[in-house]
Every structure is written in structure tokens, then in C-alpha cells.
């Protein structure tokens, strides 16, 4: 790996830092009674929202349909995910220092795997909250489940739900892009080198 590839790799590792600065995902809710909207922000280490008490307000609305209350403490992920991210950042920098191209490729692959696992985990939670409804719910609509959309828009009774990745996810995206770039470019320059080197063929 040349210096430029190492820099790319360091940038990749550092972009993951965005996860600590911005939420990964945002769920927007809108209803006639909530003209200002309600937003839930999912971070790598916490859940927040458009106001301090947004979780309470989500839970109050959700309890009519028997959804389990959402508490940050219920998600073990919020506790261990930050360590995984930090581990990726450290190993990313190490890869840059060691300068082995294949390590960059492996790092990118693992990160993609982790990202996919995260999205799958998120989806499973949505399904769990949307379908695991209390039999004592005051409002029961036969056949109705309340799985919020993973990506995009969905109407749930009087609510319009919209779910979109946020800036934190851009951190993962950038990390993947930069690390693949580091891998690919150093691969290309290595190949070029091979071509430029004169090869003596046997007569």
C-alpha cells in the first residue's frame, strides 16, 4: 500500500466516528394531533428524538395498541455496539499502519457484514415490536400488525411513519467506500507495477 492508500484507510476508519456524532437511523411519525411530528433517533449507543421526552410520547401512543414500551435499557446492542465500532476504528488504523492490501479487503468485508447484521437486527426488533402485541390492548384491529417500515414510508392507523438512514449511517457507508477504494487502488497500482516491470521471456 502506498501512502495515499494508507491515508484512505485511515479516513475510512475515522469516518466511523460519525456514528458517535449523529444518529444512524431516524423514524418520523406524523398524525393529525402531532402537526409538529415525532422523531425517534437511533444511535449506535442510545435512543433519542426530536424532544427530550420523545420515547415517553412514543410509548404513550403505542400502548393503546398493546406495543411493548420502548426503553433504551432493553437493547443490549446499544451497550456492545459502540465497542464493535471502536474495534473497527482501531483495526482500521492498524491496517493502514501495517499496509497490507488484503487486510484492507478483509476489513471492508467484515464491516459490510457487520453493517448487514445491524440492519437485520434492527429489522427483527421492528418486527418484534410490531407484532408482539399485548392481548389486553385497548385497541385491537383484527389482522393488523404495526411493523414500522425499515426504509421508506408506511401508514399505521392514524400515523404516517417514515424511516430513513441518518448521517451516522453515512459513517459506515463512507468507511466501506474508502476501505474498498484503498484496497482497489493499491491492487491496481500493484498490478501496474507488475506490468511496468520488464519480463524476460524464455526464448
Amino acid at each position: 500500500m502506498k501512502a495515499i492508500h494508507r491515508v484512505l484507510m485511515i479516513v475510512a476508519a475515522l469516518s466511523l466516528g460519525l456514528l458517535f456524532m449523529f444518529p444512524m437511523w431516524k423514524i418520523y411519525l406524523k398524525a393529525p394531533q402531532y402537526p409538529e411530528g415525532l422523531e425517534m433517533h437511533i444511535w449506535v449507543n442510545k435512543i433519542s428524538g426530536s424532544s427530550e421526552s420523545v420515547l415517553q410520547n412514543f410509548n404513550i401512543l403505542n400502548h393503546y395498541i398493546g406495543m411493548e414500551p420502548i426503553h433504551a435499557e432493553s437493547f443490549a446492542e446499544l451497550k456492545f455496539m459502540p465497542y464493535i465500532v471502536i474495534a473497527f476504528m482501531i483495526t482500521g488504523v492498524l491496517v493502514a499502519l501495517i499496509g497490507k492490501r488484503n487486510l484492507a479487503g478483509i476489513w471492508a468485508g467484515l464491516l459490510m457484514g457487520a453493517g448487514a447484521a445491524g440492519i437485520l437486527d434492527f429489522y427483527l426488533w421492528l418486527v418484534r415490536f410490531g407484532t408482539n402485541l399485548s392481548p389486553e390492548a385497548p385497541i385491537k384491529v383484527p389482522g393488523m400488525t404495526y411493523i414500522p417500515p425499515l426504509l421508506g414510508h408506511k401508514t399505521l392507523l392514524n400515523f404516517e411513519a417514515l424511516s430513513l438512514p441518518a448521517l451516522g449511517s453515512a459513517g459506515i457507508f463512507l468507511a466501506i467506500v474508502f476501505s474498498i477504494l484503498a484496497f482497489y487502488l493499491s491492487y491496481r497500482s500493484a498490478k501496474k507495477k507488475t506490468i511496468e516491470t520488464p519480463v524476460h521471456l524464455a526464448a
Partner: protein, 681 residues
């Protein structure tokens, strides 16, 4: 027969005219010739595009907040302008069953006075707090006329947060007038009374008025940061009636001006007795000099007994302090502090124009409106152009301070406000009109009828340095045929007039709550952004607060049962209570756990001898109940909070006195998920 009818027909209008002239001349020798629209000509007076000018589309906001005093209902009503939509009623001096103000345990102290609990007053004059002579949208000061009090409303919450009783005063009408930076809020007594100089009025024979009765003017200091009031000192003044006041601006900003009547010092049948002198006085007090004299040790002190009630922001609870002393100045000992300017017969309104140079005195019984010049007043003081003195206070010569008079303005001039473009507008009670005149030329340029008998009028900021000269609101005392009849008691009205052009145009007419005397208005952007949406639960320091459902409980202390209860959509915790006994004093401290905008919960219990109490999100309020009979008593949420509001209810079991039913409380059955959130944390 026919001729007789014809004769009557021709004679009737003449007779009516004669009577009208007679009535008019009783008050004023001349009547105006250009009568304009005869009363009731609504269609003509209304401009064709009026509807579009007052139309605020659904979901859109008004341009201005206006605060109309409620008069004898002791409240302030908030209307949006130009729509005239009622936004809120703020209880001040009156109990308000709608939200429990003055009924629940937290707010009872607000209405405490040295006379005990006084749950009503006559609220006349709202005045917005000021910064640099313009309204700043922080607080609204209002007066209680009957049991002298001054209150402060916080415009972050639109709640009454402070009430101060005024000692040595009776009929606190001439009140409350803030100086240009709220250095002082000034309150004058309408009735003079015999002060015993020990904190009360003396037991004095009523025919001793002339010798024994005195008036007082109070200078209330206002804390720059939090608005807290403190009665700094009083000036004891001659025993006249002090009617209205207004502060100077610009060159005159150190001065406050007061109209007085009954300089005759009549103690009975004042409508005749106080109307004998051809001239009464405009009193001018240099408040800066007064404050200086106060600092320099000219103050005397006397015992007093008055209440100061303040709402604590974090406990949402009012507390009373009893003040035992009051300091005062005597004008005869403070040269240069106070002067009297002769003003025609029983003047009512005193209004200072935005430049601070002209003092307009509206003498309700006078045939002209005198306009005094501040520059001339300064000159008259300098050159001692005095016309004797009264109780040691110099009286200035009328001609030496007069700029001029507005001739034939109309009948019964009461109040004047300004548009900041060189025009003044005066309300005419008797001829029921608003008259526009040029300040410089003192010439009437326009008049518009109002329906009927206008008292105060108000231009947003029209009493400050910077009027918003687009609208004028006339507040009318009589409505008669203006609305659908509602029995003998009719609404008063406010009329919105467009004053942006040469000619005044009537835009809108809306009924008001009780009797608006005066009003204030302010551009919405100075108030709306600071409006509190809910109280933070974390900042709630109420000793009875339960900040999460796990903190809710019921405890007995002797015959007191204390219920720390929470409310959240859509249940109370606890909602089943047992172990209460007949004759117990049950205190329900209800905390609203919601942390969202516009989700109050109410609380009421069957048979409680008080109103419901309405609890804002994050706050705690207390309802006191003494059950008189054994049985089961339902309680419920009174504010439609959610789809399951009707289910937001519970029961209290009351057992006979001495029963062995233990205190027990719960919400939901065991081994069953209570739908909802268990805590806010």
C-alpha cells in the same frame, strides 16, 4: 284626526332634537354639526374590504396578542388581532373553577389579603412591561380596584405569578403604570381615606373628610431579571380622588402624570360635590427625584399590614408574606418632586404622546381637550409661574403650561392614544365616537361612531414610544341591539378600527368577556416564541410530587390522608384507594407525568366542595377533600386527554370513622400488564 297625526309627525323629530340638545348642553354648550352617520348605520360605516382585513385563515396566527381587562370578572382575556378570536382567559383576582385557580391548595395563597381571602376584584388596567419605553412582552401588570392590589402575569406561561396588596390605598384605580424600563410600577389611590398611620384607616367621623383624608401613590420596584415586585415607598398626597396616570417618555421620562378630581374634597354625593370646581388638577411627580429623596433619607416609616403573594416556578405553589412596614415621602418636604397643573373639571384620562412632549388630558365634563406642553411645564417650574399652592405643593398657572385646546372634539372625552404619525385619537363616551385629531394643530380631522358609549380605546403600543399605528380597538360599555339578545345582561363589545389611512374604517365588532376597561396589545413575535409548552418534570420541586408511577403512594398522618398520585394517558396511579375514613382530610397531590405539549389532565372527585383542578404537564396540583359519608366515591380526569379519556377514572372507598380498613392502593390487578408506561425514566 289626520291633521293631528300629521302635526305629531312633524313635531316629533323637533321634540327629539330639542331633547337631544338639552341632554348635550347639560354636558357641553356646543354640539358638533357634522354628525356623520346616525347611530346604527353599520353598513355605511363598514368599509367594503373589512372582511378580508380581519380574516385570519384557519390554522393561521393573528398578527397581535391583545390583553383586555375583564373589569368586574377580575380576569384578563387574551384576543388575537385582527381576528378578534378569544385565545385565553387568565384568572387574576377571581377564582376560576375552569382550572382550579384560587380553589386548589397551590393557588389559594394568591388571593390572600390583609382582609383575609378575597376571591374577586375589579380589574381595570392591564399594562405591558417595558424596555426603552416600548413593550417587551415579558410581563403584564394589572390592578385590582376594590381591595387594592397589583398583579403580575408572566407571558411565558400566561399565568398570574404575583399579587401585591397596596397599603394606605382605597380603590386602586390609578394603577399600574410602568416607567420606561419598569424601574417602577406606579399605583395611585382613587379614594382618599383617613390614614391612621399605623397600617389601617382610622375610625373617623365622615364629615372630617377635609381635615383627615389623604391619598397615596405607591412606587413598586420591579426586579429587572425576574419581575418580582417590592413596594419601595409611597408618596402621601392631598385628599383628592386620583383617577388615571401615565408616564412620560423622552424628555419627560422622569415624570409621571396623574389626573385628579374632587379637589373640592367632598365626602358625599360626589357627583355634585366633586363637580363644583371649574378646574381640578393634573398632578406631576418626578419619580427619579422621588427615588433620590427616598435614598437621601427623606423617608418616614409607618407600620403596615399587607400581603405579598408569589408563585414559585418550581413548586407551582403560591406563598404569602405579610409585610409590616411601609416607607413614605411627604411632598411638602421634597421640593421639586411634585407639582399641580390646573385641568378642566374632573379630568379622566391623561395620556402622553410618543415624543413625550404633550400631555393630553381628557376632561369628561369639559368642552375642550387641553393639551399641556412638557417644555412649557419645565419653563413654568424654572420661572416659578405659580398660582399659589395646595398642601405645600406648587400649583402652576394654567396658561403657562398649556399648549392649546382641541375645540369641539365631541361629548365626554375620556381617553387618548397615538398612532406615532402625529395623530391622536380620543374616545367620546357621551357622543359615542372616536375622534381623530392632529397633535400639532389640535384640529379634528376625522370621527367615527362606535356602538355604544366607548370607554378606553387602545392602539397597540399607543401609550408607548413606538405605537403600531395600524389598528385601534374601542371598548364599548353598551351593546343593546348589536347582538342577538341574551336577556337583561348583555355582552360588552370591542370594535376594531383600521387607522392606517386618512379616514378611520370600522373593521370588526366582537363581544367581550365581562367589562373590558383598558387593553394592551403587542406584536405576536415578541411573545409567542417564549411561550412555555410544558413544565419539565425534572424541575418539579413540589413536595407532594410523584415523578414516576413507582413513587405514587397513599399515607395516613392522623386524620390526614396524603395521596401522591400520577396521571398519564390514560390512567391515574393509584386509581383504587381504600382506608379513607369519614372526616379525614384527603389531599390529592396529582402530578401530570406527561412531557408533551397540550396534554393537561384534570382531576375531580365526587362531592368535593371545591372545583376540579387542571394539571399542566410536569406540574403537581392539590385537591383537598373531606368526605362526609361512608361509601365509594368515583374520581376522574376532567380534561379530554386521549381516546381512553373516559376510562381515566378510579374509586376511593370511604369507611366510617374508626373503621379498621387499612390504607390500600393500587392500579390494575396483579399479574397483569398495566397497559402503558410505568415510568418516565
Amino acid at each position: 284626526m289626520e291633521t293631528l297625526i300629521n302635526k305629531l309627525r312633524t313635531a316629533a323629530p323637533k321634540a327629539a332634537m330639542l331633547m337631544a340638545i338639552a341632554a348635550g348642553s347639560a354636558l357641553q354648550s356646543c354640539t358638533k354639526s357634522d354628525g356623520g352617520n346616525a347611530g346604527g348605520a353599520t353598513a355605511e360605516a363598514l368599509s367594503s374590504d373589512a372582511a378580508s382585513k380581519v380574516y385570519v385563515a384557519p390554522g393561521k396566527h393573528d398578527e397581535l396578542y391583545s390583553f383586555l381587562s375583564g373589569g368586574f370578572n377580575g380576569q384578563v382575556s387574551v384576543y388575537g388581532l385582527p381576528s378578534g378570536r378569544l385565545l385565553k382567559i387568565i384568572p387574576v383576582f377571581s377564582q376560576h373553577a375552569e382550572n382550579g385557580y384560587g380553589y386548589n391548595e397551590e393557588t389559594k395563597a394568591m388571593l390572600q389579603t390583609s382582609h383575609g381571602f378575597v376571591p374577586w376584584d375589579d380589574l381595570h388596567h392591564p399594562k405591558l412591561s417595558r424596555a426603552n419605553g416600548t413593550t417587551d412582552g415579558r410581563w403584564l401588570f394589572v390592578n385590582g380596584n376594590n381591595t387594592p392590589r397589583v398583579a403580575r402575569i408572566d407571558l411565558k406561561t400566561f399565568e398570574t405569578v404575583e399579587i401585591m396588596e397596596i397599603p394606605n390605598s382605597a380603590g386602586n384605580h390609578c394603577s399600574p403604570y410602568p416607567t420606561n424600563n419598569n424601574e417602577y410600577v406606579i399605583a395611585g389611590t382613587r379614594f382618599s381615606v383617613p390614614l391612621d398611620m399605623k397600617g389601617s384607616t382610622g375610625d373617623v367621623a365622615l364629615d372630617k373628610y377635609e381635615e383627615e383624608f389623604r391619598g397615596s401613590i405607591s412606587f413598586i420596584k420591579v426586579d429587572k431579571e425576574n419581575g418580582d415586585m417590592d413596594l419601595d415607598f409611597q408618596v402621601l398626597v392631598p385628599g383628592f380622588d386620583y383617577d388615571l396616570a401615565n408616564g412620560g417618555k423622552g424628555p419627560s421620562e422622569d415624570w409621571v402624570f396623574f389626573t385628579t378630581y374632587n379637589s373640592e374634597k367632598s365626602g358625599t354625593l360626589k357627583e355634585i360635590g366633586a363637580s363644583q370646581n371649574d378646574k381640578d388638577y393634573l398632578a406631576a411627580i418626578n419619580w427619579k427625584l422621588a427615588a433620590k429623596y427616598a435614598k437621601e433619607g427623606k423617608l418616614h416609616e409607618m407600620p403596615a399590614n399587607y400581603y405579598h403573594n408569589k408563585l414559585d416556578k418550581n413548586t407551582h405553589t403560591a406563598k404569602s408574606t405579610v409585610k409590616k412596614k411601609v416607607r413614605y415621602l411627604l411632598p411638602e418636604e421634597c421640593p421639586g418632586m411634585m407639582y399641580l397643573l390646573p385641568a378642566p373639571k374632573s379630568p379622566h384620562g391623561i395620556d402622553v404622546d410618543p415624543s413625550g412632549e404633550f400631555m393630553v388630558v381628557s376632561g369628561k365634563l369639559a368642552s375642550a381637550i387641553p393639551v399641556f406642553s412638557f417644555a412649557k411645564m419645565q419653563d413654568a417650574i424654572k420661572n416659578k409661574k405659580f398660582d399659589g399652592e395646595k398642601n405645600g405643593i406648587p400649583v402652576l398657572k394654567y396658561e403657562s403650561v398649556l399648549k392649546g385646546e382641541v375645540k369641539e372634539p365631541g361629548l365626554g372625552p375620556l381617553h387618548t392614544e397615538f398612532d406615532g404619525k402625529g395623530n391622536a385619537y380620543t374616545s367620546m363616551f357621551v357622543s359615542s365616537e372616536v375622534v381623530k385629531w392632529k397633535l400639532n394643530e389640535l384640529k379634528v380631522v376625522d370621527r367615527i361612531p362606535v356602538y355604544y358609549s366607548v370607554g378606553h380605546l387602545m392602539i397597540p403600543g399607543g401609550d408607548t414610544k413606538e405605537p403600531h399605528g395600524k389598528y385601534l380597538v374601542a371598548m364599548n360599555k353598551i351593546t343593546k341591539d348589536r347582538y342577538l339578545p341574551t336577556g337583561p345582561e348583555l355582552a360588552h363589545s370591542a370594535q376594531l378600527i383600521d387607522i392606517s389611512g386618512e379616514k378611520m374604517k370600522m373593521l370588526l365588532d366582537f363581544p367581550t368577556v365581562a367589562e373590558p376597561h383598558y387593553a394592551q396589545a403587542i406584536i405576536a413575535s415578541k411573545v409567542a416564541p417564549n411561550s412555555v409548552k410544558f413544565h419539565k418534570l425534572d424541575e418539579n420541586k413540589h413536595p407532594g410530587a410523584a415523578k414516576k408511577e413507582s413513587e405514587a403512594n397513599v399515607t395516613r398522618k392522623g386524620n390526614k390522608v396524603i395521596v401522591k398520585m400520577t396521571s398519564i394517558r390514560s390512567h391515574f396511579t393509584p386509581d383504587n384507594i381504600e382506608g379513607v375514613q369519614v372526616g379525614d382530610t384527603v389531599l390529592f397531590h396529582v402530578t401530570n407525568l406527561e412531557q408533551d405539549w397540550d396534554v393537561p389532565h384534570g382531576f375531580a372527585v365526587m362531592g368535593a366542595n371545591t372545583s376540579e383542578t387542571l394539571i399542566m404537564p410536569g406540574a403537581t396540583q392539590t385537591l383537598k377533600w373531606v368526605p362526609k359519608k361512608a361509601g365509594v366515591y368515583p374520581m376522574y380526569c376532567t380534561d379530554f386527554c386521549s381516546a381512553l379519556h373516559q376510562e381515566m377514572q378510579g374509586y376511593v372507598r370511604v369507611s366510617p370513622k374508626g373503621s379498621n380498613v387499612p390504607i390500600k392502593f393500587s392500579t390494575g390487578k396483579k399479574k397483569q400488564n398495566i397497559p402503558g408506561v410505568a415510568s418516565t425514566k
